[in-house]
């Protein structure tokens, strides 16, 4: 090594340190999830002060958290798909068909673990179906999952023979205890917290997570550099459907009955949560924490409007407004970056 190489190394380190210090603060403020979390806290705080009797109760807190846990779990899966630059419109219908499959098996008197396994398996199959069409055959994710949305909903109606399933057989109590139970907050909330932490860890520290971002950033480059693009995208769609199946089982455990309309229209709420949390629909950007707080924000607004006595028909306007606001925010941040 010639001696003159020592100087650039030391200056490079100080450069790197300087950059790191700036981005630590920058990253905090450029992270949309942080702002959304602040908005959630602000709305909850103001509402608790204004309506201490109705809003600021533990009961209501349990209610809000349970309500958004199902959407939040699904939003985690959606985040994986959207980071790759894809979209999955079928999650609501997958939830519906999984609910019916689990309900039917419970109703037949089988133990709950078989029902749950079959439900998760149904989710994986739906994801595999989407994934194969999108990665192997090269169909557009939007159209493919729109097709699955219709197919899975129909399957749910046919399987249920258009009846509500509410007699869950001999294992019902155990099933409701485990999946619909509550320990301080609802079990589904604990599950959402665990899944969010686990998914955040995987996204940020595993090669798989990095490959999701790479595919969303430049799929062709990822392919050329040897990233297993087909496999990773397939896994993202399977994970997304699996999350919908998990949410379906938790929702079933809480509601205690399975209807084939379960999850109708949820795809839009899930995508909205994901986008509000800062995941970029173009791909290559997003996070687990964003999915969590995005789902929370929608529910906090919805719940707040109800308790404030606002006509429930106004909910759509507020939620829609926040979606557009989130995308606008994204645009402003994007412009600053370029």
């Amino acid at each position: 090594m010639p001696p003159d190489t020592a100087a650039p190394i030391s200056s490079a380190i100080s450069d790197v340190v300087g950059i790191k210090e700036r981005t630590a603060l920058q990253r905090l403020f450029s992270n949309q999830a942080i702002w959304v979390a602040l908005a959630v806290a602000l709305i909850m705080g103001l509402m608790s002060l204004r309506y201490p009797e109705q809003y600021g109760t533990l009961e209501n807190f349990y209610n809000i958290t349970r309500n958004f846990s199902f959407i939040g779990i699904m939003a985690l899966g959606m985040t994986a798909v959207i980071i790759t630059g894809g979209i999955d419109l079928s999650v609501g219908s997958v939830m519906g068909v999984v609910g019916i499959v689990v309900g039917l098996i419970m109703h037949a008197g089988e133990p709950w673990w078989w029902a749950v396994l079959a439900g998760l398996g149904t989710g994986v199959l739906c994801g595999l179906f989407n994934g194969i069409l999108i990665t192997r055959i090269g169909l557009s994710p939007f159209v493919t999952t729109l097709g699955t949305l219709s197919i899975a909903r129909s399957a749910a109606v046919l399987l249920s023979q258009n009846k509500m399933i509410y007699q869950f057989g001999p294992w019902a109590d155990q099933f409701f205890d485990i999946f619909g139970g509550q320990y301080i907050v609802a079990n589904s909330v604990w599950l959402l917290i665990i899944m969010t932490l686990a998914f955040a860890f995987v996204l940020n520290t595993s090669a798989w997570g990095r490959h999701l971002f790479a595919i969303g950033g430049n799929e062709q480059a990822a392919q050329l550099t040897g990233v297993p693009v087909v496999r990773v995208k397939m896994q993202a769609y399977i994970f997304c459907s699996l999350c919908a199946a998990i949410a379906a089982i938790m929702l079933l455990g809480w509601q205690g009955s399975a209807i084939n309309a379960l999850g109708t229209g949820y795809e839009l709420r899930v995508i909205a949560s994901t986008v509000i949390g800062g995941t970029n629909l173009i791909g290559g950007e997003g996070g687990a924490f964003g999915a969590f707080v995005g789902a929370a924000l929608i529910e906090v607004i919805r719940n707040g409007l109800i308790l404030a006595g606002v006509d429930s028909n106004y909910q759509g306007i507020f939620v829609g407004g926040f979606i557009i606001l989130a995308v606008l925010l994204e645009r402003v941040r994007g412009r600053k970056r370029e």
Partner: protein, 246 residues
Amino acid sequence: MSVLQLHNVSKNFGAIRALNDVNLTLEPGEVLGLMGDNGAGKSTLVKIMAGNFPPSSGQIILEEGPVVFHKPVEARQKGIEIVYQDLALCNNLTAAANVFLGRELKTGFGPFRILDFKAMYDRSAELFNELKSETRPRDVVRRMSGGQRQAVAIARTRLSNSKVVLLDEPTAAISVRQVAEVLDLIRRLRDQGVAVVLISHRMPDVFAVCDRVFVMRRGNKVAEKPISQSSPEEVTGLITGAIHAA
């Protein structure tokens, strides 16, 4: 001892003969300027060397003997790296993440393996330092200049012990100052004993950095000679066909 030889390489696409019995020899530590007009067969030749497809006839011979490539990964395993014209970078990732894309370093045990961030940052910093580039491993590629992006793409070729680096039009779409930066990168590669093939339309770049020039026209090699014995005028004539061969 040459690192790569092409022996009577031809390539047909249906009835079209894109390459016609081309011979080429690359020595370690030399820079070869591959020139020719659009459709002269440059890209086909490069794609054969990079392993995108095998030749219709003829042989690729490396130090260890003749080889047949069906996929770019196979060529890469044999020490032949290519830098694509669009660089194949992910703008949303850091320089280090791009350098190691698809070849991430991991730490841990068994199935619990996570990315080894420190090792990848350190190794990238080392590579950028070797290339004397000011690129910082933690910077996101989106915010980089054209020259820095080239450095990231070239650093990627240095991860494994590459013997041949193919550069496809690296100076086509960047500013004058950045061109100088890229030419410096090419010289660093050469100084490390790598054989570089520079595909370019830009006469000044080729004459600034190449040891030899290799001119193609209509699928044929029309000249291969030391740069010191040629001139931009002669090469232009060879490319256009005004000079038949040299």
